[in-house]
């Protein structure tokens, strides 16, 4: 390993340089699946972030206790435990979001971002660094979901803060005919592709590597 990077770098690398969605392309399944609405995308991002921080912390604390031969099953159990806890909490306190996220909440267990960070980072670094890494990657993931879901909801539905009828805002008036393609799964791929192209162009322009 190189000289230890500063704590600030541990935090920021997950947001820009190693953004899980936009750069390393991990966890694509929920990224494409839940981003039809901004609320769902951000909710998914925050739920995954919470799991990521908690599992990074616990795995970092246990890193000397868990024998390397069984580390993967242990990581999975830790992650699955936190995901189930989050799932129960969402169901109890945020039922609307729980319904909207559907099957993608249990699927956080196999979200490769979380297992990836556990295996590649938390199992080799101290708890403080691991938590910072978790917060950074989580924010990066949430930001990417926010970007993609904004594009998809505004173009695909013509609204923001939907689908809850109490909060939904129609941006272009009632007669606006949205491009429903972007609300559908195929539109998710197209929007993601365009977004990646845009982000790559920006990264190149400002020499972020």
């Amino acid at each position: 390993m190189k000289a230890n990077p500063s704590y600030l770098q541990e935090f920021t690398k997950g947001i820009l340089k190693e953004n899980p969605v936009l750069v390393t392309m991990l966890g694509m399944c929920p990224v494409l699946g839940v981003t039809a609405f901004i609320v769902n995308g951000v909710g998914m991002g925050l739920a995954a972030t919470a799991v990521l921080i908690a599992s990074n912390l616990v795995i970092s604390l246990l890193r000397n206790f868990i024998p390397p031969q069984v580390r993967i099953p242990c990581f999975i159990v830790v992650i699955a435990t936190f995901v189930t806890i989050i799932e129960m909490l969402l169901k109890a306190f945020q039922p609307v979001l729980y319904e909207a996220l559907g099957v993608f909440v249990p699927l956080i267990v196999v979200n490769c971002i979380i297992l990836g960070r556990a295996e590649a980072f938390a199992s080799k670094n101290n708890p403080l660094r691991s938590v910072l890494d978790g917060v950074g990657s989580g924010i990066g993931f949430t930001l990417a979901l926010l970007l993609l879901s904004s594009v998809r909801e505004i173009i695909g539905q013509g609204t923001i803060l939907g689908p809850d009828p109490d909060t939904v805002i129609h941006l272009f008036g009632a007669n606006f005919e949205p491009m429903t393609l972007f609300a559908q799964p195929s539109g998710a791929f197209i929007a993601l592709g365009l977004l990646l192209a845009g982000v790559n162009a920006v990264f190149k322009r400002f020499n972020i590597k």
Partner: protein
Amino acid sequence: MREILKLSITLTIVGLVSAALLTGVNNITAPIIADRQEAEYREALELYFPEVVSFENQRLEDDYFDLIFDSSDRLIGVMATIEQQGYDGTITYNLALDGEGKVVGMLIISHTETPGIGDVITTADFQEQFIGKSLKDPLLPGEDVDIVTGATISTSAMITSIRRVVSVVAESFLGHETGAVDITAVPDGIYQGSAPGLSGPILVEVEVSGGVVTRIDVLDHDETPTYFIESYPLIPELIIAEQSFDVDTKTGATLSAKGIVEAVQAALAAALEANGGGE
């Protein structure tokens, strides 16, 4: 050996701690979840049945029904919870019917129809056409309710399902008993009647002689021929053999079979009424 023991113990400890944590959180959240679901459901009930005091669950095959009672224990309505296959996955919805079997409201609980196309079933425009409909209405596409172009499968699935639920509720809970027609009281003669099948009305001719149904012919129908043979002539034969409308309609063409039974009933009910003997 020591190595294996160490690995096993590690895994066991991790598993036990995890199980303990989950049990704890579940104990805290389970009652909250149950309370909230019940409160939400009660709220929905009160929206359609303001006088609701108590309700009672019933299950018929795959459908759940809640019978709604008011303060004097009178049945004031039925709330059905139905799962229906749509275009893409299951549509779960509530259908609220009043004491006379009229639809007073519907609510799509969950669906996975195509956004922007099949999700038209959640709109007020589509749902309002069912309000006030009952067993007496045909509930057929193009007659009193409309399918939505572009979302034909989603909307016609809902129409078929609602037609079925309305008749199940009327027959099972509201005493619109299908066997209420007393065959032996029908005077001799030849009668015609019709009732909706799967894709249009089925017209039957019934001959009664000496208080016994002796002949049932289907004169006209729009059912799919390859399926209709599953119900005809089997169902008329069953009715004649048992002299009852309580025959097993679970054939390869259940809706057609029910249509035939209902058409025969309609014919005989009309005959009784014309004779002044209808109770």
